[in-house]
């Protein structure tokens, strides 16, 4: 049995969805409640800017918009185009750093 999480009931949830939260959900909730998620996201943003990842994505977006014409592109299109490339090009060192931070958080939260 996983320890239950203390959270207020969601108002209009249908019966078939009312089930035990998965481990991933539990961790997500803990991260949000403690404010750690926000800190992690800020760290990630900073690192991605520093390593040039953001500039790279910007360049891909620009190229895509140029190809399609600026009036025929929506934000959703852009997200679809860059998501696979973006996920693939995050430097391993940054992933490792974030993983380390999350591990540390989980250890401290479990106590």
């Amino acid at each position: 049995m996983r320890p239950s999480v203390n959270r207020p009931p969601t108002p209009d949830v249908q019966e078939n969805q009312e089930k035990e939260p998965t481990l991933q959900e539990t961790i997500n909730i803990k991260l949000i409640e403690s404010g750690e998620k926000e800190r992690l996201m800020e760290l990630l943003r900073e690192r991605l800017v520093e390593c040039g990842w953001k500039d790279e994505m910007k360049a891909i977006c620009r190229a895509f918009i140029k190809k399609k014409g600026r009036n025929n592109v929506t934000v959703d299109d852009l997200v679809h185009v860059i998501t696979p490339k973006g996920r693939a090009s995050v430097p391993d060192s940054i992933k490792a750093e974030l993983l380390q931070r999350i591990r540390k958080f989980l250890v401290s939260a479990a106590l």
Binding site: T10, N28, I29, I32, E42, G52, T74, V75, S93
Partner: protein, 561 residues
Amino acid sequence: MSLRNPSYTNPKPCKHLEDYKLRHGLSGYKSIQRHLKATPHGRTSVEMLNTGVPRCNSCNGFQGRLYLCLICNSVSCLDHTLLHTQSEDGHDLAVDIERAELYCCVCCDQVYDPDFDKVVMSKHNMGVPRDDKHGDESIGERLVKRRRLGLGVAEELVDLKKSKQLVSMRDRRDKSCYPLGLRGLNNLGSTCFMNSVLQALLHAPPFRNYFLSEGHNHEACRRRSGDRLCLSCDIDVVFSAVFSGDRAPYSPAHFLYSWWQHSANLASYEQQDAHEFFISVLDGIHEKEDKSRNRNRDSGDCQCIAHRVFSGLLRSDVTCMTCGSTSTTYDPCVDISVDLDTSNFSPTDTVNKRSKPNENSSISTLLGCLDLFTRQEKLGSEQKLFCETCQEMRDSVKQMSIRRLPLVLCLHIKRFEHSAVRKTWRKIDRYLQFPFSLDMTPYLSSSIVRNRFGNRIFSVEGDESDINTDFEIFAVVTHSGTLESGHYVTYLRLRNRWYKCDDAWITEVDEEIVRASQCYMMFYVQKMLYQKADEDLSSLPLSPRRDAYLPIASCCERLFK
């Protein structure tokens, strides 16, 4: 709104947004306002008060982007937004929960509305001016190079020999075709700091035009104020001497004496810091002119020539890390002191070095220094500031930007560094690359603040499209030697040629030499004024060496390759 700035015109709203606003007005925005949460770093998100973690109402998922319907407050994930508008007629507009941005579910696109952004921006209480607090914090950083007089003379002798060699090597060129106003200044005993800055001031276009057009007539001034010492008068005398056409080196002895009277604490035969001298001369001019001009300071800015030419306005935003509220301070400045961007070789940061396209990351660049200057800086835990919203001492983030650019921009590189560990000062000899043409747009407050808040449509005060942000370099003051003793040399750029002003000796040099020099202070002038200055002097005879001419643009291209 931001109509004055063509690059930020409002996009046309989609017809669903128009429909929504016609039917519901601003009530949806207002109701969402109290759920908005401002985070430090300028971001905003929607906080779901009653439900804790937001989830999609259709699939109960919590990952990815989630949208809050502006009409029924139901939450959908990206996959179910379309479903929501199909099942509920007219529920077209939603707000991205994490980013507080408007989204049209029918167009599947981000939409923009100034009214919405106004609601969001009101969460960040911005633009509360505070009184000047960071007045002269850099005084401690400005370092006076001190040393005994005897050694100084020996040093000068060595320099003298070197310069003589240079002169004999390059003196074949006819000096009579040098632009008017190029005249050597004799070293009066460790006064190269003065000569180097004077050369830059003598050729700062707006400053020069003021004095050459009798803006400050020293004879009239003497008659008016008796025999009182006046720094502006002595500068006027130097100007007349230098632009007289006489090429023999000039000794600005009376000016030096006058400056000593003005800044008694610096009056000695010791070597001084050129930057400190620059500040003190501008102060001297300001004091005098301020008195003679019956103080029309009430209108805001000081009208003295020193401040009209060199004075800009810095903006500093201090954001509380806890509540995200920002307080803004404006400080006038006559120059911008930037730290040498050495981040890419500090051992801790090697992984995360700033790498930009077209930039060799092992070289410090002036743009890198300016980036560093305008970067958000976390204030240490011992520097907690009082937050007026929280009514408590809080951790804060500080960010500098340039609110108003001066006509002549003086950039000072902090080459003298204080090591807290060894409690000593040291000089950083690192090479710094600098462009001849500089675009200051990215460092303006409007750009910096806009970047901080992402793509919001709102007007930043002082958001003017007609300001000139293109600058051209016209003088570089370089320093060679050590902290205790060294030599200042100025490179002047006149009509696209570079001239080396080493005390009494003026020689024409190639731009490669300037690029390779160890710059300490750089003087940029607004491009318009630089071009005008060029035209003014074009009536003078041109030197035969036309082959050295290179358009500025192509120089800069080469620089960035």
